[in-house]
């Protein structure tokens, strides 16, 4: 243990004592992106820092094969925070790194996968910075047996009494800020009951942790208010789904490596190769950035979600958009990757996105021409003729693309790659065997 880590641990021990923390939740994430938690008492904290916490990983999705089920959770003192919404005694939380029983980083730990990919970026001299736009719905309840009940009929940027959930959103913002998760903007989105909270950029590992915390805070506070929040990508047919647009940039030691004065849209050659990498490998990484059967019901024409592999400055139908930034603010030059949805595992999604972008830089990929037409206005056949590729249209297609991808296999590591494919194929098979309401309505009367 380095002196640095010792100091951080000591700080947390002291802080827990001074703040009379009664319970510490140790958090980690399974391969599907679900948050897992083990609670310990403050008395166990010191041992947890020194020796970690043993648990049986075979109970966690995607963690262990039977033979090597014992894993070790090592709390990361740098992530210590208290949970402001808990009653009756202060609760603290830390994210954990998972080690195998031999003390090596455990290959099934998504946080480790992201760290490994970030280390590669570091070796190339880059720090990966991310800012997500988190979209979600507030419903009256989370009961899946009936259609979701809307809380309002408000729309984009509405500031009226119809925005019944705005108090809830405001309360959520203050909890996020108190936890050190700065918010850039928040507003009512296009669809009724849909909301968006944009987080301020930070390094990718912190951001992945923040996204996990964010999803919990939003859902937890909604429940406390007797509501239900969901990050399901497309809960309402015929209305816009929830995306998680990601604003991305790479910083080197002194400045934003995506920025270049005098270049078109102020984008450096590094930014352009990164974009080319994302476009080239977009179809392969989609299973990870959009991991549910339901994700592909968002990625359809007519709802401002990307459908074609393309980039543009203004056109919001493109997969990558280049936000307009000012020449005197070089720090804010960035790209916006628009396909991911908020149901993804943020550690894995950021891993494959970074791997695709770095590949573009390392191989010096050429950025194709900017998309100048609004693709939403063209016929599919015409778009194909123009040479654009569609994003996968179903989870099955996305898995086929992923399975062929050396890039994704390498970024995720063998263990998670294989497990993810197996698990998601099973999800697809379940879905295929199901007969939906749509089919009954469409076919039963006539056939």
């Amino acid at each position: 243990m380095t002196a640095w880590v010792e100091r951080q641990n000591e700080y947390v021990l002291r802080a827990a004592e001074e703040r009379a923390v009664q319970l510490i939740r140790l958090w980690f994430t399974d391969v599907l992106g679900q948050l897992k938690s083990v609670a310990i008492s403050p008395a166990e904290l010191e041992t947890a820092f020194e020796e970690g916490l043993h648990f049986d990983g075979s109970a966690i999705d995607g963690f262990s094969r039977i033979q090597e089920s014992d894993v070790l959770a090592m709390p990361d003192a740098n992530t210590f925070a208290t949970l402001p919404w808990t009653d009756g005694g202060t609760t603290g939380r830390m994210f954990c790194d998972i080690l195998s029983h031999t003390g090596e980083p455990f290959e099934g730990d998504p946080r480790h996968v992201l760290k490994r990919n970030l280390a590669r970026a570091n070796d190339a001299g880059f720090k990966f910075m991310v800012a997500p736009e988190m979209e979600f719905f507030y419903f009256a309840d989370g009961e899946p047996t009936h259609a979701p009940k809307l809380l309002d009929s408000g729309s984009y940027f509405d500031l009226t009494t119809s925005d019944a959930a705005s108090d809830l959103r405001r309360q959520t913002l203050s909890v996020l800020e108190a936890m050190g998760i700065p918010v850039e903007y928040s507003f009512h989105e296009d669809s009724p009951s849909q909301h968006e909270i944009d987080l301020r950029y930070t390094d990718a590992l912190t951001m992945a942790d923040q996204i996990m915390t964010f999803r919990l805070v939003v859902r937890e506070l909604a429940l406390e208010a007797g509501r239900f929040a969901t990050f399901m990508p497309k809960p309402l047919a015929g209305m816009q789904g929830s995306g998680m647009h990601l604003h991305l940039s790479l910083f080197d030691e002194s400045s934003n490596a995506f920025h270049a004065d005098g270049e078109q849209y102020l984008l450096s050659p590094i930014a352009k190769s990164f974009m080319a990498g994302l476009l080239t490998h977009a179809r392969e990484i989609t299973a990870v950035t959009n991991q549910l059967v339901n994700s592909y019901k968002r990625l359809v024409r007519g709802y401002e979600a990307p459908v074609w592999v393309s980039w543009a400055q203004r056109n919001r139908s493109a997969l990558i958009r280049v936000p307009v930034t000012k020449a005197d603010k070089p720090g804010s030059t960035r790209i916006e990757f628009r396909s991911p949805d908020p149901s993804c595992n943020p550690y894995l999604a950021l891993s494959v996105i970074l791997a695709a972008g770095l590949k573009g830089i390392q191989e010096g990929y050429e950025l194709p021409a900017e998309l100048d037409a609004n693709l939403f206005e063209l016929e599919d056949a015409r778009i194909l003729e123009l040479g654009y590729q569609p994003l996968p249209t179903s989870l099955a297609e996305a898995l086929d693309e992923m399975e062929k991808s050396d890039l994704v296999r390498d970024a995720l590591g063998e263990h998670i790659f294989e497990w993810f494919l197996r698990n998601k194929r099973a999800e697809w098979r379940d879905y295929k065997a199901n007969v939906s309401q749509w089919e009954l309505e469409r076919y039963l009367p006539s056939w």
Binding site: R19, A81, G180, P182
Partner: protein, 226 residues
């Protein structure tokens, strides 16, 4: 509170030494010559001295003599020497109070310093750093604004402590990276901005402006007391 300042030699002082002192919330001034030593000495005199001999032993011993051969010798005086310089200590007992071998362990240095100060009958380092509504307890790591406890991460706490220990002084991002995070830290150019934004979020709307952005330079906290 009397401003207490350690004198360090040489200038620039070793990075690890500076970091340890900053962590421990000790003020210091690095000097490169006997001239410097006199010019920058505070009116109340030096609190103590930490002299590193492994680069320039002759210069280092000259500074020691200057500090000790006075009516009121400066003490405590801690020497940092390399293993091969241990011989040099033999005939110079009166010039120092204690010594450590480089590379030193930062926790040991802190402990020795605290002990030397105690032996010299000197008050220990200030326990409370206060600025306006802000109070940081160096012993317990607690930070409060208007009496409301702030739950900070270690780095947020260290950054806030550093800025509030030097009110009104503007620090560049590079300086903050070096002084708060340490020289060997690689976090990229945006690390400081990201932490400042997080601190402001935790301070809350009312107090977010305690940490000011000085355009195209860096950050400062509050106004200078002098």
């Amino acid at each position: 509170m009397t401003p207490e300042t350690f004198v360090l030699y040489p200038n620039p002082a070793p990075a690890e030494l500076v970091r340890t002192l900053d962590f421990g919330n000790y003020s210091w001034t690095a000097v490169g010559s006997i001239g410097d030593l006199h010019d920058s000495e505070p009116d109340v005199g030096w609190t103590g001295a930490i002299i590193c001999a492994d680069e320039d032993p002759d210069g280092a011993w000259a500074i020691c003599r200057e500090l000790r051969r006075r009516d009121v010798p400066v003490e405590p005086l801690l020497m940092l020497v390399s293993g091969s310089q241990l011989d040099q200590l033999v005939s110079r007992n009166e010039l120092l109070d204690d010594f450590m071998i480089t590379p030193f362990h930062s926790k040991e240095l802190e402990a020795r310093l605290a002990h030397l100060l105690w032996k010299a009958g000197r008050g220990v380092r200030p326990e409370l750093v206060e600025h306006g509504p802000l109070a940081l307890n160096v012993e317990t790591y607690q930070a409060t604004v208007d009496g409301r406890p702030l739950d900070l991460t270690f780095m947020e706490y260290e950054l806030l402590k550093f800025l509030s220990s030097h009110p009104g002084k503007v620090f560049t991002r590079e300086a903050l990276l070096n002084r708060v995070w340490g020289y060997d830290y690689y976090g990229g150019a945006r690390t400081v901005d990201v932490h400042v934004r997080r601190l402001r979020a935790k301070l809350g709307e009312e107090h977010a402006s305690l940490i000011q952005t000085v355009r195209s330079v860096g950050y400062k906290l509050g106004q200078s007391r002098w």
